[in-house]
Assembly symmetry: C2
Homo-oligomer: 104 residues x 2
Amino acid sequence: MFGNTWTMVVVYALREGPSRPGLLRAAIGGISQKVLTETLRRLEGDGLVSRRRYAEAPPRVEYELTEAGRDLLVPIEALGEWTDRHADTVLTARYGTDDQPASG
Amino acid sequence: MFGNTWTMVVVYALREGPSRPGLLRAAIGGISQKVLTETLRRLEGDGLVSRRRYAEAPPRVEYELTEAGRDLLVPIEALGEWTDRHADTVLTARYGTDDQPASG
């Protein structure tokens, strides 16, 4: 579930309610139409997102988090907070600082 | 960080304090020596685990979570709780139930 980063990004992008693919893509930035479509389809297949189709011309499609999808925001946001706190720790450990290169 | 499942499994296995590779492997079960060693080395390189070497015969090595490593338990445990609650939702969505195969 957490193995695919786009899963977390797309679920997070839907946190404020139903949205259309075009708006999602703009909000996320840096995701291709292909990857967004695949991710939404996988999330739908996993029961984390529901798709609603409006019989308009042209037809309109909206995606929305299910209960399971909304609950996934808890670990996603916890990971976000961890990253805010410790990204520097990891980067320093991996690459060192200017005056102290990483050991090993 | 969350892309590799073994990262979460090994961090979780260290949640109760310092431990030796042999004990970790027994506690985790199903992880090869090679993968455990690689995972511990990567975690050490990311500053999430520290390694202490005891100059004994034979030499003893212990691994322990750093502060960043311990803080990672928060999103890991949140994901565990989510999985407890929603694993069935995902499996049913993916594979359906005996009397109602998955749609699409």
